[in-house]
């Protein structure tokens, strides 16, 4: 007969506040097979876990039910506690009486009754648990990093320094990401490229980092430790092995196009690099603007190239990499013009977004760092910065706060005063959020020393009137409407996930929230992991991040990968499918429903009477099976079962939850 222990947690008042913990404990004691029932204030605490360990040893328990929070929170904690006390960790079940019970039901009597049912179901499930041992699968000690921004670069460097190979996939022709577009960075005002380019060089030089530029991840198969990733590289039309980076081709190329890197403010050549410090410092041909590729004319670059590196016939390259872990660091984009009709963005050239302002500020930018109006190149004397452009605006834009705009707008105002001493910066804001180290002081300096005029209120309309950009807003502190005839308007646009991030999420099978930011495994406790084992997050892919956070994320994710690669084999959760060969009729209709092709046919030889007979049966490859259970439903003769979630267990849970306390009248 089973010897089951039930431990009911009060979780301070989180559970005890609504559920009569003692009543649940007593009810549990009455269930056949339960030999120990106890409640404690904090089961997951050190003393709580010791209570469990002692009870296991003293009462020789072979099954454990912990009635507390969601398994997503502490299933691991209690399973390892049981393991230390000598009980197989898979003989432990959680009864979720907090998130699913005490936190969501106001009526104490109903909450207690429901908690008792949930505990009874968990006991029935434990009663039918079997001791399980994790299966071991081989591990490829090579990592894939998607995105070559500061986050991607930092995680690649950390993993490579830890001694493992890394493939860094970047969709542009150079690494550096968003940070490369910035002029200075807050709060220290040190120049972005000064602190970024050495790191870019280090990445390019690192023997263990393999760069895949102009590339995207198009397919991901397999599972943690054994991913097969298909990478598609767009043609650059320049053979980078031969090219020595002399950039003569860029000089002589006649075709110019608006530079996406400069947010359309500056021009770049059809063949060339986005910015001088690009790494790898190799040119790329933008096919849709190349006269040769479009109309078969010109071709100067091919003629003058000293090393004949230009190759117009270059095709798209597709290849596969075997990797054990994936770090997603795709960074962010900013909200487009479609959201700011009332600010005239996209209609008036002198209404620009914050990234464009960064380019104006940047010495390698289109105006070599001089702040000029895109319309007539004049130096603006009155600049209006509009904070929360599209952020904190559920109706028209994004509901969330984009976190970094308060800081970079203060930086913009400061830089503006340094470059245009007699200019006046106005900043329409709602609340200033400057929570980082030295952040608040930085904003105060912008106000006190650099004369930025902060106006608390939103802007209702921006329109052009005889050469000036009129900004209609309000100053709620002064209680007046305000109209400013400005020369330049800068929108601190909302941060959004990188375009294409949602499609990549589906390729990686990682859930994303409604805005498209990837979901962490747990928002507080596992911020750099995802629910998909082996896939980690770094930087703004999971939400608006500033540079220090992105770098911290990146090193965190890299540490997780190093932990994963620290042992030679990977332990796979034993909650996988299993075939009862005595029942299996060999129809193999389970094979088509398995997403991981983990089921194969096996020739079973068995003795019937005196003869040896053979018949086909299904068999499960423990390494591939992820335990989804679809096969167990496709199996009509009940031969296929799923360890940890067997048919018997689920039927028993149904029975326990439906126990007819009162039959219908």
């Amino acid at each position: 007969m089973r010897r089951i222990g039930v431990f009911v947690c009060s979780c301070g008042l989180n559970i005890a506040g609504r559920v009569d913990v003692q009543k649940v404990t007593d009810a549990a004691a009455g269930i056949p097979g339960v030999v120990h029932s106890e409640n404690y204030k904090y089961m997951c605490s050190e003393p709580g876990q010791n209570l469990i360990a002692d009870a296991i040893r003293q009462k020789r328990l072979d099954g454990l039910v912990v009635a507390a929070c969601s398994p997503a929170m502490h299933e691991l904690t209690f399973r390892s506690a049981a393991k230390l006390a000598g009980l197989n960790p898979y003989m432990v079940q959680m009864a979720n009486i907090r998130e699913h019970c005490s936190w969501v039901h106001r009526d104490e009597e109903q909450a207690t009754a429901k908690a008792t049912d949930i505990v009874r179901a968990a006991v029935e499930k434990v009663r039918r648990d079997q001791p399980l041992e994790p299966t071991r699968i081989p591990l490829t000690k090579k990592a894939l990093v998607i995105g070559g921004g500061i986050a991607g670069m930092q995680s690649a460097l950390d993993i490579a320094d830890a001694g493992y190979d890394v493939v860094l996939v970047e969709k542009d022709a150079t690494i550096g990401g968003r940070m490369a577009q910035l002029s200075e960075t807050f709060p220290t005002l040190d120049c972005a490229s000064c602190i970024l380019t050495p790191k870019m060089a280090e990445v390019a030089r690192h023997p263990r980092i393999q760069l895949a530029m102009c590339s995207r991840v198009t397919q991901v198969a397999g599972y943690v430790g054994n991913f097969t990733v298909q990478i598609t590289q767009a043609p650059t039309y320049v053979d980078w092995e031969k090219c020595i980076g002399c950039m003569d081709c860029q000089e002589r190329c006649p075709s110019r196009l608006p530079s996406e890197f400069d947010r359309g403010l500056g021009k770049r050549k059809a063949i060339g690099v986005d910015f001088p410090q690009a790494v790898p410092n190799r040119p790329v041909i933008k096919a849709d603007h190349c006269l040769y590729l479009q109309k078969g004319r010109c071709g100067i670059c091919e003629k003058i190239c000293p090393v004949e590196a230009v190759d117009f016939q270059q095709q798209e390259k597709v290849w596969e990499e075997e990797v054990g872990a994936i770090i997603v660091a795709t960074g962010f984009d900013v909200l487009g013009a479609e959201a700011f009709a009332e600010y005239g963005y996209g209609q008036y050239p002198d209404v620009i977004d914050s990234l464009a302002y960064e380019r104006l500020n940047s010495s390698s930018g289109p105006t070599e760092g001089v702040i000029r109006r895109p319309s007539d190149g004049e130096i603006p004397k009155e600049v209006v910065f509009i904070q929360c452009a599209g952020s904190r605006d559920p109706d028209k834009g994004k509901a969330y706060c984009s976190k970094i705009c308060c800081m970079y707008t203060a930086k913009h105002a400061t830089l503006y005063r340094h470059k245009v001493p007699d200019g006046q910066a106005y900043i329409f804001y709602m609340d200033i959020r400057a929570g980082g180290k030295g952040y608040e002081e930085f904003v105060q300096r912008a106000v006190e020393q650099d004369g930025a005029l902060y106006l608390r209120g939103r802007v209702s309309r921006v329109y052009e009137e005889d050469g000036k950009i009129v900004v209609k807003g309000v100053d709620t502190l002064a209680g007046e409407n305000i109209e400013i005839a400005a020369d330049l308007v800068v929108l601190a646009s909302a941060v959004t996930p990188r375009t294409g991030a949602r499609e990549l999420a589906q390729v990686l099978k990682v859930p994303a929230d409604q805005d498209g930011f990837y979901n962490e495994a747990h928002p507080k406790l596992r911020p750099v992991e995802t629910v998909t084992a082996g896939v980690y997050l770094a930087g703004a892919v999971a939400g608006p991040r500033d540079i220090p956070e992105a770098v911290a994320n990146a090193s965190g994710a890299a540490a997780k990968v190093a932990v994963l690669f620290s042992n030679d084999e990977l332990e796979n959760e034993p909650l996988i499918a299993a075939v009862d060969e005595s029942k299996c009729s060999g129809c193999l209709w389970c094979v088509p429903v398995c997403p991981f092709d983990a089921i194969e046919e096996k020739e079973l030889i068995e003795r019937v009477g005196s003869k040896e007979v053979t018949r086909p049966v299904a068999t499960v490859n423990a390494g591939l099976c992820q335990g989804c259970g679809a096969c167990s439903v496709a199996c009509r003769d009940g031969a296929m079962n799923l360890k940890g979630f067997t048919n018997e267990q689920i039927l028993a849970e149904v029975e326990a939850l439906c126990l007819m306390t009162g039959s219908p009248e």
Partner: protein, 259 residues
């Protein structure tokens, strides 16, 4: 009247709802101000009883009626209360249109253009939408909340030359004219000046309140754009106003001469 005749001339029959009353003028901002919804509900219910969808010429009415219609269809509790109070059954089956929408979707502006008898020989006209027609964008779903095009197309169909200006979707001050006249004068004159700056000879609106406020502000401006209601333009272009004038239905030809 001009609207009904113009519609008839375009093959659309518009019957006036008998015993209609005010639409409630303002969609209540408080969610539990159900009593304010009684009159728009009655209007919708009686239209339903008459067995036809509802067409209005005024953006204010459209705003109130369309949002009430949506609320009644969505919220069973409010519907129940209104049905008991007004003693009429209605659950949002009907649709509410602005005449401009009917012209655009039913007849089609290209057909309208064919029916035009007196084209407005490209007078520059500033379309003025105001706010109630367009916002809240989700409920009204009339046109793009900040860059509307419907009136521009309407005017082009009548042969006029529409001109866009920043204040075409700015508020005219609406019923503030009751409590503080000078604030409406200030708001409305900003609209007029902006239209003037864009070179508009006329300014067309589709809401009596806006027309009232704009006229109020026009007094204190030197030669502001001429104010005209969109149905007048329609009637004039279709030659319907001349017909009405002959048999005395129309007091005077309100069409301003082109200058």
């Amino acid at each position: 009247m001009t609207a009904r005749e113009s519609a008839r001339c375009l093959g659309i029959s518009l019957e006036e709802l008998e015993d209609w009353q005010c639409c409630g003028a303002v969609f209540p901002l408080a969610t539990d101000a159900i009593i304010n919804l009684a009159s728009p509900f009655r209007t919708l219910a009686s239209a339903h009883q008459a067995g036809a969808d509802l067409v209005t010429l005024c953006s204010g009415c459209l705003n109130v009626l369309r949002r009430t219609n949506k609320l009644v269809a969505a919220d069973a509790e409010i519907r129940k209360k209104l049905e008991d109070f007004v003693e009429m059954k209605y659950a949002g089956e009907r649709k509410v249109f602005h005449l401009l929408e009917v012209l655009r979707d039913e007849t089609g502006f290209d057909q309208l253009q064919k029916k035009v008898v007196h084209p407005l020989d490209d007078v520059t006209v500033a379309p003025y939408y105001g706010c109630l027609l367009l916002r809240p964008a989700e409920d009204m779903a009339f046109d793009h909340p900040d860059k509307p095009v419907i009136m521009g197309e309407f005017l082009r169909a009548l042969g006029a030359k529409p001109v866009s200006y920043p204040f075409q979707t700015e508020c005219c001050g609406s019923y503030l004219s009751v409590s503080s006249v000078d604030s409406t004068r200030q708001a409305a004159s900003a609209v007029l000046k902006s239209a003037q700056a864009a070179g508009a000879q006329w300014l067309v609106t589709s809401c009596p309140t806006c027309l009232y406020n704009l006229e109020l502000a026009a007094e204190s401006l030197d030669e502001p754009p001429r104010l005209v209601y969109f149905t007048q333009l329609l009637a004039h272009a279709l030659g319907v106003d001349a017909y009405l004038e002959e048999n005395g239905a129309l007091a005077k030809n309100v069409m301003p001469e082109v200058n």
